[in-house]
Symmetry: C2
């Protein structure tokens, strides 16, 4: 069957808001709506209403986690043990497909981001990439030859063990790992926990940003050793293009000449306003549609 025309849908499912949108086959946005994240019943009913009013042929759904992504298991398509009240156990894919009868590609928000970069962004000319978001939390997604990395479950790169910056004596903000994971020492909330001020009120010369760049570099270094991607891409609200030179310098310090890495390995997201996930979700909707036909 040759598909000549179709409409793609996306759900960017976040802990505080959901973004719903439709687009044509060139990813030109047709409709878009932002809703706040309420109970699963209310929020998913809003999603269903939106896509009943604006029918689509497939949906790409990048979700907050943890989620069940291993096909063929009982947990597939579900939100797992999230601390977000009421959401643990929610059958996202089942609820949507029962109501809308279209294929749904279900993955993590960061996998959607890495896919967006891989299809049309910073990784479009390579075969493998890692995407990190540093925001309220820290997440990472990885792709190799078109397949997401992750066997039993999705990746949890933000909780990987961390070597502390020698001057950083912060006790850490991760409820599970304290200062013993990247999220605990480099996620957005650690800035206020360290300084009493929100990041946007601080001068960029504040040492806290030096620490965060060091940890970003260490995340990239750890990812490189564990996955050997051709691109490592940073998104999220905490660091920007301006941080990249310092991140690259710390990466080189950590490597210390051990491995030769690709030119321009470490880059900032290609898309403004963290839109990698939007592009990725549309591309995943398209992949789901093609797989179903």
């Amino acid at each position: 069957m040759i598909i000549v025309s179709y409409v793609l849908g996306i759900i960017e499912a976040g802990g505080t808001k959901f973004v719903l949108a439709t687009a044509d086959a060139d990813y030109n946005i047709l409709q878009k709506k932002r809703i706040s994240t309420e109970t699963p019943a209310v929020t998913l009913a809003h999603c269903i209403d939106f896509f009943k009013a604006n029918p689509v042929d497939a949906i790409g759904l990048g979700s907050f986690g943890p989620i069940g992504i291993k096909q063929g298991t009982q947990d597939y398509g579900h939100i797992l043990a999230t601390p977000k009240p009421g959401w643990a156990g929610t059958d996202m894919v089942g609820t949507l497909t029962d109501a809308l009868h279209v294929p749904v590609f279900f993955t993590t928000d960061v996998n959607a981001s890495v896919y967006g970069e891989y299809i049309a962004g910073a990784a479009k000319d390579v075969d493998s990439a890692v995407y990190f978001t540093i925001g309220t939390g820290i997440g990472g997604g990885a792709i190799q030859d078109g397949q997401f990395v992750g066997g039993h479950a999705h990746l949890e790169m933000g909780h990987a063990p961390v070597m502390l910056h020698p001057d950083d004596h912060f006790a850490g903000g991760c409820p599970f790992h304290g200062n013993r994971c990247f999220e605990g020492v480099a996620a957005g909330p650690t800035i206020e926990l360290r300084t009493g001020e929100k990041g946007e009120n601080l001068d960029r010369d504040n040492p806290v940003f030096d620490y965060i760049d060091y940890y970003a570099a260490q995340m990239a270094w750890n990812a490189y050793l564990n996955l050997a991607p051709e691109k490592i891409i940073f998104g999220g609200s905490v660091i920007s293009e301006d941080d990249m030179p310092r991140v690259r310098a710390y990466f080189d310090q950590l490597n210390n000449g051990y491995v030769q890495v690709p030119e321009e390995l470490i880059v900032h997201s290609h898309f403004p306003d963290n839109a990698s996930a939007t592009v990725g979700d549309f591309a995943l909707a398209e992949a789901a549609l093609k797989a179903a036909n």
Copy 2:
């Protein structure tokens, strides 16, 4: 074409010895020879002589590294910047295929090991696995759905950053990273560097083994977060089946209830005498043969 009968060859290319062998389609060994690693010219001539005397239809070659594994690049099939005198730049695959005219599957020794475990060992019932060897160095290989993980290059998991055991004040043995990578604090030579004694002369109650189990657990934890495999398998001469309970306990401490991992995630190699790589190399020879036909 239906292949009815064939002979498989392997080369286990190590820094001190090469193992050459042939087997039938059921991996029953037909001939086997061990040679010491001399110059590339001498060593590869021995390999070629062996396989001219004992012809095979394909060769699985698991090699010490670093090696070029990205097909289509200039480095593919070569030994890269090894400190081993004379070996940097050696064209392993080109030299062998020019002389022997059979397909060669070229990968790292640890990738061969993880493949052996995946085909017939501890990971034979799952879709994804990581294999660590802790010996003179520390290496890791990863497989997901039959494909090795690694985009730009092979993995270098042994050099990933490490959080030191709180009681361990060892300065580290890695020439590149000191005590700032797993190899620097947990590879075999660190035992003698710490204690002045070889591991085999020490009581297993020596705290050095506690440290090594802690680092093994941290390697497994880091790998789980970066790759989410269904099995993490330890081989090599430094730790054994007896270490697994303590490794698992440290892993649970590091996780601290954050993620739910598969039952029996962490296991020791299925094969005695670190034979995972032998099985893997034969299976890779078979894969190369099938891909070529």
